[in-house]
């Protein structure tokens, strides 16, 4: 099992560095390609949110903790009902933290995915994609920091 922490300036130019670090951990855990892509999409979304909004008009750091665990990481305060989830096997948890403006992305309303192209709005898709492709995610504001975690069953 593994644990890696990256501290990096939250700017868009660092996105590829972030994803490379995440991928290196996932590759070491023999993560399937499909899961890797879903995790990348999720991490991109959350990192870009921090880069674009957390420290406006300044910039600041993001901490990214990537953990591979041999059981489901049950959070103390999970906003989602996870009682139906199969907790066995290996799990991945990625936690992104910043000390910018308090913001819980989970409170954002889901877009209506049944609308036609003409009626669909451009925004709001990102977090929705993350919610749909991860097994669960949760947010906490602690010690002046936003912490958002995504959890995905690996095997």
């Amino acid at each position: 099992m593994s644990r890696k922490n990256i501290k990096i300036l939250a700017v868009l130019d660092n996105l590829s560095k972030v994803l490379e670090s995440v991928d290196a951990q996932l590759d070491a855990a023999d993560c399937p390609l499909k899961t890797k892509m879903q995790v990348d999409v999720a991490v991109e979304e959350l990192f870009v949110n921090i880069a674009n909004y957390a420290y406006v008009p300044d910039t600041g750091d993001a901490d990214i903790l990537i953990e591979i665990m041999d059981s489901c990481p049950i959070p103390e305060d999970c906003q989602e009902d996870i009682s139906d989830i199969d907790r066995s096997g290996n799990w991945l948890r990625v936690t992104l933290s910043d000390s910018g403006t308090p913001f819980n992305p989970l409170l954002k309303e889901d877009p209506d995915v049944t609308l036609s192209a003409q009626d669909r709005r451009i925004g709001g898709l990102g977090i929705f994609m993350v919610k749909k492709s991860m097994d669960y995610m949760y947010y906490e504001f602690k010690d002046g920091k936003n912490n958002i975690s995504i959890c995905k069953k690996l095997s």
Partner: protein, 99 residues
């Protein structure tokens, strides 16, 4: 990294994407599309070599779809399974034409 290759033949355009369509590369595609979209009626995206798409990429596709719906047609061909999964999750498989 994203490689964009375009083939324009009269009112038909094919855009071949290779690599990753993400937050950093999506603006590149957006600018490319803007440069010729007004003059075409059929737009085809060849995704055979597209490895990755995030919501920034989806936004560009949605904008293109809205534009092309008014003046012609747009479709995606050779979409990989992993990319298709993203379209499924977001409901994009219902609003885009994927062959």
């Amino acid at each position: 990294m994203l490689n964009i290759e375009k083939q324009i033949n009269g009112a038909d355009a094919t855009v071949i994407l290779e690599g990753r369509l993400d937050t950093t590369t999506a603006p590149q595609l957006e600018n490319e599309l803007k440069s010729f979209m007004e003059s075409i009626t059929n737009l085809v995206f060849d995704f055979e070599k597209l490895e990755y798409i995030s919501s920034a990429g989806l936004r560009v596709l949605l904008t293109a779809q809205k534009f092309m719906s008014k003046q012609g047609s747009m479709k995606l061909i050779h979409v990989k399974d992993d990319v298709n999964e993203i379209f499924e999750v977001t409901g994009f498989s219902d609003i885009l034409t994927i062959e």
